[in-house]
């Protein structure tokens, strides 16, 4: 199929730039290098699968509300699904982090990939914390009253008030999920652009 590209059109320029930065064969490759065939490389995608379950189960909880997740068997199920997918999310993310740390995965111009991963980890911790505050039970009351002194000691309490349930809920279900998903997307695109970091070269010389 042929068509005439309009040089001055912004869509044409943007498309050319995107294809140049991340060609389709790099964005969605058919194969990966041989060194990727190791269990240590599966924890990144495990983290993303867990994140998908976290988001979906969170959407179900948002649809039905606290009375439902506290008082019905189906609500208990989705509440537990949300909790345990978060547990798997952090479990897999920490193993992924350890693996990439010992590979020095920032090598070869991959520093931004490393930084976006680290920031995603920090955002996820705040998301989990606001999740504890959004449970609407005695546990969330206890955690918020314990956390307020720590947050106030940093000077951030005026902007991030852990005793303000409405604010914490909005951070948990709007701002932080958007940030986590956006950062994860950028992280994955950077991995596609730069490729998976290769292992360290073997420094042992072969006998002459």
């Amino acid at each position: 199929m042929s068509y005439n590209e309009i040089e001055r059109q912004w869509t044409t320029r943007l498309r050319r730039r995107l294809v140049k930065v991340l060609p389709p064969e790099k964005a969605l490759p058919d194969t990966q290098p041989a060194y990727v065939a190791s269990w240590i490389y599966v924890f990144g995608v495990t983290t993303m699968c867990a994140l998908a379950v976290v988001i979906l189960s969170g959407c179900v909880l948002a649809l039905r509300g606290p009375q439902w997740w506290h008082g019905s068997p189906e609500g208990h199920f989705f509440n537990s699904l949300h909790l345990w997918s978060v547990e798997i999310f952090f479990f897999a993310m920490v193993v992924h982090l350890w693996g990439k740390y010992f590979m020095a995965a920032w090598r070869g111009g991959r520093s931004l990939t490393w930084v976006t991963g680290a920031v995603t980890f920090l955002v996820s911790i705040v998301a989990a914390f606001t999740g504890y505050l959004s449970q609407t039970n005695f546990d969330s009351q206890w955690i918020s009253t314990q956390a307020k002194d720590g947050i106030n000691a940093t000077g951030g309490g005026a902007y991030f008030n852990v005793l303000n349930f409405g604010q914490m809920l909005m951070w948990h279900i709007v701002l932080l999920p958007i940030a986590a998903v956006l950062l994860t997307g950028i992280h994955v695109l950077l991995v596609r652009k730069k490729g998976v970091v290769p292992p360290f070269e073997d420094k042992v010389k072969a006998p002459a």
Binding site: A37, W39, I40
Partner: protein
Amino acid sequence: MSLFAFFAALFPLNTLGHYIHWHIIQISVANLVVIILMIIVFVAALLLPFPGHRRRNNQ
């Protein structure tokens, strides 16, 4: 005994948590178990052969 009652008896969640104290370090047993599991999974991921790896190398 239902499955729920079985697991409730195996992992009682209505009791106080168990903690380990060592000098200035204090950690719950549950968190320590998770950390040990993560280390085991990390080491296993490095050592266990990946399915299909040998076939791919032969090709």
